[in-house]
Symmetry: C2
Subunit: 208 residues, 2 copies
Amino acid sequence: MKSAKQIILRLFQYREFLMRAKSIGIKNVYSDTLAEALGSTATQVRKDFSLFGITGNKRAGYKLDDLLSQLSELLGKNQKQKIIIAGAGNLGKALMQYDGFKKEGIEIVALFDNDPVKVNIESSPPILPIERLFEFIGKNKINLGVIAVPYFAAQQMLDLMILAGIKGVLNFAPISLKSPKDFFINDINLRLELETVAYFIKPLKQED
Amino acid sequence: MKSAKQIILRLFQYREFLMRAKSIGIKNVYSDTLAEALGSTATQVRKDFSLFGITGNKRAGYKLDDLLSQLSELLGKNQKQKIIIAGAGNLGKALMQYDGFKKEGIEIVALFDNDPVKVNIESSPPILPIERLFEFIGKNKINLGVIAVPYFAAQQMLDLMILAGIKGVLNFAPISLKSPKDFFINDINLRLELETVAYFIKPLKQED
DNA sequence: TAGATTGTTAATCGATTAACAATC
DNA sequence: TAGATTGTTAATCGATTAACAATC
């Protein structure tokens, strides 16, 4: 949907690198600088920018501040993004405590779990019972969620989220979820990613 | 390197689905069954199989057991895979406690952290000081690692792992790591994945 | 100016999809 | 057999890379 996920991912990476570069006092960058940082190519970088109408200065590369503000404009990272997490298991809690989100404007406003033992209204963010999810989403106008529940509960959770008004999710459940066409799902299957590495480092019987 | 990561990922997904199907007593599947399960297409499924010499029966689809064993043969999932995790923060611990790995033959044999408070030789798996990483990898012949340390420590950690004999890593540090050509790195940047979802659900100013 | 770097067009590459013959 | 499904070839699509004119 819309422009390819991969390009957007790269734009975010450019932005991340630029913020770090800025913090150490760099004022100008070249497509080559960015390529090097990301393990990409200068052509790729300029092509990506070109696709979104981002321009630099021939001979002088890109002014870091200008580039950064153009990217931020594009990626819309000036407003806060509130999210909720379904599932307060290890992964959910790891995400909850991961402070890299906060400084990028991503605020986890609540977790939800159906295990009463995990519920904790006092924690920050609070861990609430599933029953309150629907109401919470509506009241707080949340449109982004994370699914970190077991696979057998994932589809049901997604259906509930969609009904409540969520527009896109990051899904850690290892299953292909069904959703309307205009709903955005980003699947991450950690075990699969790990197994893939295992596959590629295996001594090969035959090349192809 | 070798066959595209994406195909291998799909093969793992087929295998995962087949194991679940088997557990509920299904004996035969069609390319269409698999396509449906993965949100893919029947042509894609047959193409993937064709690329690896996996065949079924015209008119009768695939015998689940045969297919499963062919995939397992290919993906080499009959031996155990030992891994270590560098970084015993929230993410490292979440992975450590995630029991989905174990039943797929992935065994986390140790975590490593340079914070003495986190070190815990008694836990299972043990959390050891970084100083023991090099020796541990050599002694236990580990070739797969996970990098779950802060970004500024990631390159150094990778260098150490490579030196110790690791052949591939799953990297959660949000930075492009440098490594030899024959070393395999699978990068996962959770924040970026989340931001990407946020981008795609944003009300658009202009289509393209 | 001369040299370096951008921005874009064209070529290439790879992956997905369509079409269809083979055949159980 | 007739119909359904595989396996593969060819066509399409999209993304990456190469080439190079524009120009600061």
